[in-house]
């Protein structure tokens, strides 16, 4: 059994196994806690701050077969200046694209602080041999990606071969080196809270800088409940190993109200350290549009229409 270096810390597989085995979850209590956190009311100034924060945490995403150079330029322009008529709205954290489009996105984000994230390891299914996943990831990094979003091997995970899941992430992290690694659990495929917790811990132990809920390609996307399980795993991991990892929620978060509920949960459970794009992100395509609408609504008092904001 070899010791793997992640974040400068060695985590032996036996330790990972030990953590994974302590994965029982009180689902009734969890549901209750998550639901109670959704009832907070955030008003006026705090709301405006939350909305701006959400924008700065967004990974503006397009992952379609129809993506073209033109579509990427349009999206990057929106990422840098989400609302061209309001300079107080910050840039988003990153744009997220397929590996073949990274070089285009990279060129367009020059002179801004927007990062380029690439999905790799044969997103969204990940159903290819390991060599191909490594190649896919290497290609994205060579093209200039600042962040890599990979998917875990759900086939291996659901068959109970946790070691394989772990080894694959470790191997991909080796390719990434200093490039930020986000590991997608695809919570919709994992079905149970216990599975989400196990997958979270395995991914963290294997060296992921972030764990991410979903690909956005399933009908079941992120849920606050799944996010709660993940944030608890991140906290437990921090208390055992001393490393702070981030969380990215993606898929199905369409409105500002829902996004604010995530922020409330993160703040209450993890503390304000995590309220930063360094440690918390939203994967978004339609979310940003609603947030921009709400920001303008707060400033003008008038409910807004989508067609007054840039597309992208």
């Amino acid at each position: 059994m070899k010791n793997i270096k992640t974040h400068g810390t060695s985590i032996e597989w036996s330790n990972v196994l030990e953590m994974v085995h302590e994965s029982r979850i009180d689902s009734v209590g969890l549901n209750e806690r998550v639901n109670s956190l959704a009832t907070r009311s955030i008003k006026k100034d705090s709301k405006l701050e939350a909305l701006n924060m959400i924008v700065s945490m967004c990974d503006l995403t397009t992952l379609e077969g129809e993506d073209t150079e033109g579509k990427i330029s349009q999206m990057v322009a929106k990422a840098i200046k989400p609302n061209p008529l309001d300079n107080s709205v910050p840039s988003v954290a990153a744009v997220c694209v397929y590996p073949s489009l990274v070089h285009i996105a990279k060129e367009k984000v020059q002179h801004s602080n927007v990062k380029v994230a690439a999905v790799s390891s044969y997103f969204p299914s990940g159903q290819v041999p390991m060599e191909s996943k490594l190649l896919d990831t290497k290609y994205a990094i060579d093209s200039g990606a600042d962040e890599i979003d990979i998917v875990i091997n759900r086939k291996a995970f659901l068959e109970g071969d946790y070691r394989k899941v772990y080894d694959e992430i470790v191997a991909l992290k080796e390719v990434c080196q200093d490039v930020h690694l986000k590991t997608i659990l695809e919570v919709g495929d994992l079905k149970t809270y216990e599975n989400i917790r196990k997958a979270s811990l395995i991914s963290l132990a294997a060296g992921s800088d972030f764990i991410k809920t979903s690909t956005g390609k399933l009908s079941v996307g992120s849920s606050r409940h799944a996010c709660y399980v993940m944030l608890k795993s991140v906290l437990d991991f921090e208390s055992k190993i001393g490393i702070k990892a981030g969380i990215k929620v993606a898929g199905g978060i369409r409105d500002a109200k829902d996004a604010i509920r995530y922020l409330v949960m993160i703040n209450e459970e993890m503390g304000s350290d995590w309220l930063s794009p360094e440690l918390f992100r939203f994967g978004a395509s339609s979310l940003l549009d609603d947030v921009l609408k709400q920001i303008k609504k707060l400033k003008t008092g008038a409910y807004q229409a989508g067609y007054y904001f840039p597309r992208g």
Binding site: T300, G301, A302, Y303, Q304, A305, Y308
Partner: protein, 275 residues
């Protein structure tokens, strides 16, 4: 026999809902007190979201289908005629006047149902141009319409504040203050007539509470006021509406074909004649 009283609710997105605020206001009719939903600005927001979706469904329906649904509405009211007459009498109308009002209502619905597939021929036209082109003024529904109904207790007047815009394919948010019991009863027949959800939302409350939010809401395309407002109120509405280039009509015509004209937007098309 136990006398069971009805709780009137707003009709939004094909569902009967209480005001999000939980607030009500009271109306007394014949020594009975009706608790009616006091629409809040968030209810307006929800209604507009619904109307926006309703507009897609309703405006893309074929004129033939719109005609059938409108005709169905007249059938429903015909079937419930007695209860309408009774309610109008509770409001203080004589039986004769109440019956006349309902009869006129039914006739008007049938007239507009008939107009559903004819208005475009009547309102649109071929423009005379000197070149070898067809120049066509094609008429489109304007979008989401907010209609403040008249303060007179009359189903016919309520309908005349809704039917013209609905017939051409607009989705309508109808808001009633004085005659809200009647409007919310009418919502039940709307529900039974196969209108797509969101094409017609019916709300009750005090207009002054929501005047600002309605006139500022960017996604409402037109405000029709079928009730005389004080000068100041109208000015506020017009000023707010100008921010989003919203059209405002105070007491628009309800006579014949001219009634539908405010709700249309003209698109002009040039097409070569190809001699």
């Amino acid at each position: 026999m136990i006398d069971i009283k009805k709780t009137y609710k707003n009709y939004v997105d094909g569902k009967y809902v209480r005001s999000e605020s939980g607030k009500t206001y009271t109306k007394e009719l014949k020594n009975e007190f009706y608790e009616l939903p006091l629409t809040s600005k968030k209810d307006i927001r929800d209604a507009v979201t619904s109307s926006k979706n309703g507009y897609k469904k309703w405006s893309s329906a074929t004129p033939y289908l719109r005609m059938q649904i409108l005709y169905r509405l007249s059938e429903m009211i015909e079937g419930n005629k007695e209860s309408y007459v009774e309610l109008l009498m509770d409001h203080g109308l004589t039986k004769q006047k109440a019956t006349k009002d309902i009869d006129e209502s039914i006739q008007n619905i049938v007239w507009f149902a008939g107009l559903a597939d004819k208005w475009e021929q009547l309102a649109g036209n071929l423009n005379p141009v000197s070149e070898e082109y067809f120049n066509i003024s094609h008429q489109n529904p304007i979008g989401v319409v907010f209609s403040l109904s008249s303060s007179n207790v009359s189903l016919n007047e309520l309908l005349m504040s809704i039917l013209p815009s609905l017939t051409v394919g607009c989705s309508v948010i109808s808001y009633s203050e004085e005659n809200s019991v009647l409007a919310l009863k009418f919502a039940e027949d709307i529900n039974n007539s196969d209108f797509p959800s969101g094409s017609l939302n019916i709300l009750s409350g005090k207009f002054e509470n929501i005047l600002n939010d309605v006139s500022k809401h960017v996604e409402i395309n037109l405000v029709a006021l079928h009730k005389e407002l004080d000068k100041e109120g109208l000015k506020t509405i017009e000023q707010n509406a100008s921010e989003s280039v919203k059209r405002v009509f105070s007491q628009p015509s309800i006579e014949g074909l001219s009634s539908i004209l405010p709700y249309l937007e003209t698109k002009t098309v040039w097409h070569p004649k190809g001699t």
